[in-house]
């Protein structure tokens, strides 16, 4: 048995909190996305965290506190499991973001195709100005 939570115990017994099957869209981002550490070094920015980190934190809290679509403890357990497996080579907070998107897709809160097309829209908006 494990000194930590039931959740850890379950994971070690092969019972997973979350479906660990890779998601194509997130795999592309994981392998091609440029992480903040790299961008900050290239552009000489000293802020240790990406500007979107605070928005991500707000999203995580709002998902738990408002309609309770994704309770905090469940998201954190899934993030731990995904951080130790699929996204273990991704730095923080990029890893937290991928884990959140993964949890949301696997729960059907958002759909992978819908997320891909929204990402394209957002990208076009941000680069067209």
């Amino acid at each position: 048995m494990n000194a930590s939570s039931k959740n850890d115990t379950n994971a070690e017994n092969g019972e997973h909190m979350v479906d660990l099957t890779p998601i194509a869209l997130l795999e592309t981002i994981r392998s091609h996305g440029r992480v903040w550490g790299e961008l900050a070094a290239q552009y000489g920015v000293t802020n240790p965290d990406p500007p979107w980190k605070v928005n991500l934190e707000a999203t995580c809290d709002a998902l738990s506190a408002e309609a309770c679509a994704l309770p905090l403890l469940e998201r954190r357990s899934e993030e731990d499991e995904l951080s130790a497996s699929l996204y273990s080579n991704v730095p923080f907070p990029e890893r937290q973001l991928l884990a959140l998107a993964h949890s949301m897709i696997k729960r059907g809160l958002v759909d992978e195709k819908e997320l891909a097309s929204r990402m394209k829209q957002v990208h076009d908006r941000l680069t067209s100005a």
């Binding site: 552009y43 965290d49 928005n55 998902l63 506190a65 958002v110």
Partner: protein, 241 residues
């Protein structure tokens, strides 16, 4: 947290460097947020309220609480008996504040201040997830969230503290505080020698986030947290009963 631009020598602001590139991660964050709002998982107004709250958070109020407690024995007594009340004097209202006015699942309103003595050192962990006294200490550092820290601190506290550079002699007892219910904790460390006559501001500067979690102790001249690499858990813990 973002660094504020500082005034240049001639009164103008030097241009702050910017990342002139849209990353997939930035786009993913926005897309997830927009879809969540459209699907009614939370509202744009909820998100704005939470973002504002996140922006106000940091470790300074907790550092000030400790500095005040070092200088004022009556305040120290209040801090260790009623952390929520003592927080008011450093500008933190656990109860009547944004975003919810009653604490959230991660920010319940019961702060306990753990007083170190020459014979007892406290250190805080949440073995369950990563409960942390956000209203007064800001967002937790990444290492605090890792299973490595959470599993190992309870079992091998002295080894983990040594990895942070804190070697404790055998005559100092270690008390690990596992924060997994509704109390949140900060450590009130011993005031170090060499700080005689210091002001509250000077004292607050050496009370770093790591000192408040308990993995470091204040030292004159040390005002920043040590960098800490994050490793995966290496010793899975086995339970004996």
């Amino acid at each position: 947290m973002a660094k504020k631009p500082t005034e240049g020598e001639h009164g103008h602001r030097p241009p702050a460097p910017m990342v002139d590139e849209v990353s997939d991660f930035e786009v993913l964050e926005m897309a997830v947020r927009e879809l969540a709002i459209e699907k009614g998982l939370f509202s744009a107004e909820d998100h704005r309220r939470w973002t504002e709250y996140m922006d106000t958070l940091g470790p300074l109020p907790a550092a000030r609480l400790v500095a005040k407690a070092w200088l004022d024995p009556a305040y120290k007594k209040l801090a260790v008996t009623d952390g929520v009340k003592a927080s008011l004097q450093v500008g933190i209202d656990w109860v009547n504040s944004m975003p919810t006015n009653f604490g959230t699942p991660s920010d319940y309103c019961n702060l306990r201040v753990l007083e170190d003595t020459p014979k007892l050192k406290h250190v805080v962990v949440c073995t369950l997830c990563s409960c942390y006294p956000r209203p007064i200490l800001g967002q937790s550092p990444e290492w605090y969230r890792t299973p490595n820290y959470r599993r190992r601190l309870v079992r091998w506290p002295r080894q983990v503290l040594a990895e942070f550079g804190l070697q404790l002699p055998p005559d100092v007892d270690v008390r690990v505080e596992d924060s997994n219910q509704k109390s949140r904790f900060i450590v009130l460390p011993m005031r170090p020698a060499g700080t005689e006559g210091w002001t509250e501001d000077q004292l607050a500067e050496i009370v770093t986030r790591d000192c408040l979690i308990g993995v470091a102790v204040p030292k004159p001249g040390v005002t920043a947290n040590a960098k800490r690499p994050v490793h995966p858990a290496v010793h899975p813990v086995h339970h004996d009963h």
